[in-house]
């Protein structure tokens, strides 16, 4: 069996994150994770675990340790500055009556 880069413990299969695409053209959504010895088995385990109820038409599996995530400490500098900048949302602006009518 191939050694996988994201091996955690010796006797435990590595962890993979599973994403599925609900429909053509839709963005992939995170479904959960599975353990598997390698990529092909990860795909099959993902199919058996997350695609039995018509959830999607495509699957991605990604070694969990290949995902770079922000940390709780990043919360301030990453996300707080957006708090008081309501004008970044389109809803901030009122739509002119003329534009509304055209709908």
């Amino acid at each position: 069996m191939k050694e996988s880069a994201n091996g955690t413990k010796q006797n435990e299969w590595p962890l993979w994150e599973v994403f599925y695409q609900p429909n053509n053209g839709k963005p992939f959504e995170h479904a959960g994770s599975v353990h598997a010895p390698d990529a092909e088995m990860a795909l099959q385990n993902a199919r058996d675990t997350y695609s039995r109820r018509n959830e999607g038409i495509n699957l991605w599996v990604v070694p969990s340790d290949q995902i770079v995530a922000s940390t709780p400490e990043d919360q301030g500098p990453f996300f707080d500055p957006a708090n008081d900048k309501a004008y970044r949302h389109p809803q901030f602006y009122s739509v002119p009556r003329a534009a509304k009518k055209r709908k």
């Binding site: 069996m1 599975v34 353990h35 598997a36 092909e40 385990n45 058996d48 675990t49």
Partner: protein
Amino acid sequence: MSTLDKTPVKRDEILFEYLVRLADDRLILGQRLSEWSGHGPELEEDLALANIALDMIGHASGLYTYAAEIEGEGRDEDDLAYFRDDIDFKNFQMLEQPKGDLAYTIARQFLFSLYSYLLYMELKDADDEQFAGLASKHLKEIRYHLRHSREWVLRLGDGTEESHRRIQDAFDDIWMYTGELFEMDEVDKKAAEEGFGADLAKLRKPWKEHVDEVLDEATLTVPDDNQYMASGGRTGFHTEHLGHMLAQMQFLRRSYPDAEWT
């Protein structure tokens, strides 16, 4: 109740017998696979085996339902599954063997899924609309069972020393039950003549070629065909394992025939 005491003659009788044989194969293997529930090596493989078990039982259910309809004597799928004795079951002996270790379960699944795949490729064009429809619907799932079990054969064979030994032992043990898969008896011949049965003898070559290919890639040795081959499942002749299994499988339904899910 026995289906053994009369040789089918009419088209409907032959079709009934043919459907029940296929259904028995799948019910018995499905039951065996379900024994893995809660005992898989990892949660994910536990789920995978349970999925395959459910598919098998689903295929059996579809075939039994249609068989009961063809028979037209008021029996239903449950009657066929739960109220026949071991002598009435026509499954291959390979499928009733205890689940063994994971290697044994995987080796059997691979050999049988490959056989089923080749068989259903023929049956999907059967000269019976409903039967052909069932076959092509089930074929998609069979393809997946084959893929899953083949991937495992490769990994166990070309894995550790222990996994290699175990899967080699499994193929060696199970090989004597493979001969029966390709035997053509009267029912098979008549079913082929009627246009809804496959020529099983013809499946042997492509089956063997693919088995050789996969086992070779898995660094395994294909067992010798020139050995004692078990036979008789199709006439209701079984190993000692089937009766025990049926006792467990049929107990509830027989003790409480009117029980219902509420």
